[in-house]
Symmetry: C2
Subunit: 330 residues, 2 copies
């Protein structure tokens, strides 16, 4: 276990991940399709380098994940910003603006930053486009472990009969980011390419953590941890919604979310979300402006509100301070 | 320590590495110039991506490290194979064949695979070329911790007043490969570029190992470990040389090495080293053919003999079996 390992990762961990994803997210794969990586950032970087040639066009959600844009640009891709609405990625807009794209990057379970879940209709439209265009879909499922209402939403990956989806997951949000462990689930005929690429970029993931994590999952601790955190985060989200209803009426429209680790509060028309974010920070509340993640300046401003890492008293106090900040500018 | 960390690595570890390198290898740097990476393979991959544009020409040693070639090719570089002789890289040949190269990859302390140490004259010639050409030197110092005779040889990095050397080191050989920890020492004005690149490829190295390794070094355990292993490996090398003198006369010319973790034995003229390697393996001796690492087919064949991982009885028994294998084909 101390010598050079398999570039695709420690086999027992790959097996444990495959079992977990099959049950939790309806991801269809064998353990051989699982490539262990150092977090989702490496998954993005590897996928961009393996799937795209320099100059290739890629759809990215707008607003969307900046780390993903960076990885795609770093691999030489050109980006087409495709708008996101309440159903998720606007596939028709993507087809119209950039029909020749080789890849679409999406976070369909819980869009980052605005939090919508991609509708079934849009999922099928995306899958159909990818099949016709011979393009890849990069599905980033970064925090789907935390789902609070209804039954878990199946991954896009499990819906695609053409196997054009490369699925990305991470342990950073459910365990801790400094661990640097995540995974790719790739179509069977891409396993060799991804494994070879991994070997040339940094050989393989560190072995000891993989072995520990593998035991943690197969021993049932991971599932217990998820259940406990899910309950806690659901409670914290409820507290945030309740406090927002009470204190932020007319200032910030905070919508509940089925999943994930943050909510978005929408500001009144004409209020600049970066200015609102600055005022909030002055009062000790971290609320990132949604407009930082997109290119369309005329969209309604929004603030991202994280709640898992704060207890209920802090949530209530924070909401009061946020209200005070927003009263100054709304 | 569980949250997202510095892409350049855990500061106490960077400081410990800078101190160690300054003392052990005369590498001139501050801790800010140290970038912690997941082994030397990632160092190569990052350096290739940051320093080279697709299509740029790079000198590689011939014979030389295949993982390095792979990383350079993966970043889109074109390779110029530059021959290595008993003084190391033949700089004049490089200048003649590929004067417009943007980078030269060298392992000057202990060339891989043939084990020579780059002479002082060649080092200065390389440094002069890089300064005139505005090119980079990638110095791979993969096993220089193990030096058995004379005073430690200074790194090329410390000799260059123009700061054109990017220095790569690893803990894989002195600790264990599955740890996946190594480092780059970059010129001051490249620190930001390398840090940004690291953030986009996989964020940062895992934190817990870095903290443990940092304590291991500053607590004096690393230095003690090196001293102990150096004595052990020197003894094993001596046993191998002695057994070779006794059993392999006329079959394999085994030269001692000042440093490193393998020796090279040179076969008689006209003997195919891949065939010799196969015969050795049939008798349970792993001896990789040097010709696998190079492009020039008419070079004299050689076998790489590793000795650190085998005790003295195994070394003597192995040499006897190797002699038996070579008697069949020499």
């Amino acid at each position: 276990m101390l010598g050079y390992g398999d570039p695709a990762g420690y086999r027992p961990l790959r097996e444990a991940i495959a079992v977990h994803l099959g049950a939790a997210r309806a991801v269809r794969c064998t353990w051989e399709q699982v490539i262990v990586v150092s977090g989702s950032q490496q998954a993005l970087d590897l996928a961009a380098r393996v799937l795209l040639d320099p100059g290739d066009l890629a759809w990215v959600e707008d607003p969307g994940n900046m780390g993903a844009r960076g990885a795609l640009i770093g691999a030489g891709a050109r980006l087409a910003a495709v708008p996101v609405d309440r159903e998720g990625l606007n596939v028709a807009a993507g087809v119209e603006r950039a029909p020749g794209a080789r890849l679409a990057y999406v976070a369909p379970s819980h869009q980052y930053p605005i939090g919508v879940t991609m509708s079934f209709a849009r999922r099928m439209a995306l899958i159909r486009w990818a099949a016709e265009a011979g393009a890849w879909i990069l599905e980033d499922d970064y925090d789907s472990e935390y789902r609070y209402t209804g039954r878990p939403l199946e991954a896009l990956q499990g819906l695609d009969p053409e196997e054009r989806v490369v699925y990305i997951g991470t342990f950073s949000k459910v365990l801790f980011p400094a661990l640097r462990l995540g995974y790719l689930v790739v179509p069977p005929d891409l396993v060799d390419a991804f494994t070879a690429a991994r070997e040339l970029t940094d050989r393989h993931p560190p072995t000891v953590e993989q072995a520990i994590l593998s035991d943690f999952i197969t021993g049932g601790h991971f599932a217990r941890h998820l259940r406990r955190m899910r309950l806690l985060y659901a409670k914290r989200q409820a507290t945030l919604i309740e406090a927002a209803d009470r204190e932020l009426f007319g200032l910030l429209d905070v919508r509940p979310a089925d999943a994930g680790m943050h909510l978005v509060g929408w500001l009144p028309e004409g209020v600049d979300d970066r200015e609102a974010s600055r005022h909030a920070l002055e009062r000790g509340v971290e609320a990132t402006a949604v407009s930082l993640y997109g290119t369309a300046p005329d969209k309604r401003g929004g603030l991202m509100l994280g709640y898992p890492a704060v207890d209920e008293d802090e949530i209530r106090a924070g909401v009061r301070r946020l209200a005070s900040a927003l009263e100054h500018i709304c």
